[in-house]
Amino acid sequence: MDAMTRALDFVADNLQRPIQVADMAGKAAYSLYYFCRMFHRIVHHAPYDYLIRRRLSAAATALTASRRKIIDIAYDLQFQNPETFSRAFRRMFALQPSEWRKNPLNPVFYLMPSLTREHLIHRNSPAGNRPEVLHRETWEISGWTVPAESSITDIEKIWHATHSESHTDPVRCVVLWDMPGHPEGMGCLAGWPDFRNDQKTSGWIRKQIPGGTYAVFPYIGSFAGRHLARDYALHTWLPKSGCRLARPMIIERYHTRPVSGPGKDIRMNLEIPLAG
């Protein structure tokens, strides 16, 4: 794990330098062959695939953060010519770089994050990362919108305030979705599935969640660390699955009451909608 973390940090620090997989192996102090094998096993990516995805994600960020020429951004990130860059960019994002610049997609759903030691610990935990793929009918979530980066304490207040703890169905949900123009870029709703609130509480909303195929990833860990499951689902599992995201949305289903505080793990299923 330490060796792979060194390799990941090396990539993060050298995206704009002409590094190769052999250089990553050198940082890990492994032979090239053994490094490639262990990188697959621990990071769940091919080393070259990870390097290219990080470079393309950095390029996408640069396209929206500056007005620099696309070709200059491509060369900075070690793409040999504009055609190679455009082809790789389109393959990852299904958009030309110029199209991304005009209408960038939400980075949470589409840009490969820089993986850390915490990501590796999550990916290699006994709970595993193999999802269940299942079909869901259309359903509704009822609750209140909250900031996307709300703490578990704030979200628990929402759940507790809106639903009696004596209710037999313990499932609680948080739904996050792409919301262009929103200050956070994301909408977030904490609530209960298929729950009717007849009290007409101020601010109470209902959101329909389309039916379809969903990949369901179990997560056991801290509330603050649940982005690790999201990053695995969206940026590691999904590209290899042959599927794509049906819509930029994540559903978190909490089957037991999540508790906050250090050392307190939550149990949650993270769901992403699939197409193709």
């Binding site: 190769q20 997989v21 490639c36």
Partner: protein
């Protein structure tokens, strides 16, 4: 870890070959990687054609080669060849590919048990450097004979790694076993 140094004549190998990321898996239906898949193909084919192949086989070992190509350092892509040495290419089934190895000097490293799964190539590189030797061809070879009992009996197994070598200039002489 002291290797045996030998000189060999040219060799012909017949088997199956793959180029790309040898550790790529396809998830879902197939969890094994490309190396596992090529070995499965080879063993199934050998079993099917054993009558013919056993007569053409030169020796009693199977070979796994890792050949470095232009993109190996930059992308971690290798050519992986799995097969056997043959006395002749005539009468070989068309499904097989041929590898022609020139006459070479090899350093042979023997690994036991769990060391087979370790990063043996880092150890080999260190030894070669200290011995004033360097790899002279862009491939290395793992040889599996009756001493290898399978990955599920790795503790009872041995495997030889052949590295084609030459002396670094100005570093003395060596005396290989002919």
């Amino acid at each position: 870890m002291i290797p045996e140094i030998i000189d060999t004549g040219p060799r012909l190998l017949a088997g199956f070959s793959f180029y790309g990321d040898p550790f790529e898996t396809h998830g879902f239906w197939e969890e094994e990687n490309e190396i596992g898949r090529i070995w499965q193909r080879w063993m199934a084919f050998y079993k099917k054609e054993e009558d013919l192949l056993s007569r053409l086989m030169d020796g009693k070992a199977f070979y796994e080669l890792f050949v470095h190509h232009e993109k190996t350092q930059s992308r971690g892509h290798f050519e992986v060849f799995v097969g056997m040495p043959v006395t002749s290419v005539e009468k070989l089934p068309v499904e097989l590919v041929i590898k022609s190895l020139p006459a070479l000097r090899y350093a042979i490293f023997t690994f036991h048990g769990e060391a087979i799964r370790s990063d043996c190539y880092t150890d080999i590189r260190k030894w070669l450097a200290e011995a004033g030797l360097t790899q002279c061809c862009p491939f290395n070879m793992q040889v599996y004979d009756e001493r290898f009992k399978g990955m599920d009996r790795i503790h009872e197994s041995e495997m030889d790694v052949f590295i084609p070598v030459k002396r670094l200039s100005g570093t003395g002489t060596d005396h290989p076993r002919a």
